[in-house]
Subunit: 235 residues, 2 copies
């Protein structure tokens, strides 16, 4: 009955229903208009995403939109402790192109929102190694994450799809390292709010908003207290 | 690909994706196993719910479970300011029976969780009238909400479906009036946590838990860092 918005990505998507998470905020925002479907896969990079994409998106019906939010794992450095998640930036670009092509091929009318990886706070990353960190060096750097963010923006421009430049947007905030991030990589409450707002803004550009989407069933403010059942005639 | 759990109810369901909400917590809890689908309709009572139920549940595929969480509006007093939402307790019982029958008829294998209305903090309700409160008396009382809660439990027992007695459970907490409720009716953070925990517990009784449900795609902890693509063979 209701159209869908898929959230496809890595742990920053999978964790988006924790307290104040951007996924939960999207459900709350679209609570009578859209079904938001979580397809977050912690640790995944674009190489692995391509391996599973046909299984993830096996539905016939075109969703309104898909957010594609990978890159934070691709950007793991190839000579650091999380190297097994690394994907070279050129392959990352190609992979994003393939993801967009797949989605456009399956559902030509669906809006695609490419979200760039967030910035990285390197000192904090040292406190949260995913696996043993023998070198004592951060497994990601902010500069390299920025290259992946630029690549993501380039793909969005080349494919004509929506883009959210999280890497730049977050660094506009003073103290973004702790304001936007909880562990140097994943999102704080403010970081989650930024993603939520940016996704809502991006969708609005294509006319997808609570103001324009049809509302599922009569809303209480429009039900006549003197004759409530009238609102339900013909449903 | 993933099975679903529907959340069917009034504003306490519709608002369940606000910060710390029980719906968002369910998505987070089942983030790789289940799709949680929000079908909350603010202000609705069981009479209106029955008018829309066929439209709400138009899918062929049986969900794992449906939470049915009505009663807070049915329990509005017939001689107070929100009288247009009132449904007599005998009709409430019949309506809940009809809702359960509809769901069982459509999907015989689906687990149904009947959630009772929460307790009411009457003094606080006076601060949050939905419409003009000329009498200056609360539109709901805790005692009457308790009658609806008992009716909900009775229906669950009569139909052999799962029950959550929120009215009793919440009043076990000292200071439940503000500990569990935000406005004398809707849920605080703690109140949301209680609903989340009770629903998870109820589903567990029927074998529906993250421990037993199949996980969607390889999880990062099981991917071999020395040969990550091996995990994606045959997907």
């Amino acid at each position: 009955m209701r159209p869908k918005i898929y959230l496809f990505g890595d742990s920053i998507t999978e964790m988006s229903f924790e307290d104040g998470g951007w996924g939960a905020s999207l459900v709350n925002h679209f609570n009578r208009t859209v079904d938001v479907v979580l397809r977050g896969y912690s640790g995944y990079n674009t190489r692995w995403a391509l391996k599973v994409i046909e299984k993830v998106f096996d539905e016939e019906t075109a969703p309104l939109a898909v957010t594609v939010f990978f890159g934070a794992n691709d950007a793991c450095l190839p000579d650091r402790c999380s190297a097994f998640q690394h994907v070279p930036v050129d392959e990352y670009k190609l992979n994003l192109h393939s993801i967009v092509s797949f989605l456009k091929g399956r559902w030509p009318t669906t809006q695609i929102v490419l979200i760039s990886p967030p910035p990285i706070d390197e000192p904090t990353r040292l406190l949260y190694p995913f696996i043993e960190n023998k070198l004592g060096l951060p497994e990601r750097t902010n500069e390299v994450a920025g290259n992946y963010a630029k690549a993501s923006l380039a793909v969005a421009a080349e494919c004509g799809v929506l883009a959210v430049d999280l890497w730049t947007r977050m660094q506009q905030l003073p103290g973004w390292q702790t304001a936007c991030l909880s562990d140097g990589l994943h999102l704080s409450k403010t970081g989650n709010e930024i993603v939520f707002e940016e996704v809502v803004e991006a969708l609005k550009k294509k006319g997808l908003s609570v103001e324009t989407l049809p509302v599922d069933l009569p809303v209480i403010n429009e039900i006549d207290p003197n004759d409530p059942l009238k609102s339900f005639e013909g449903i």
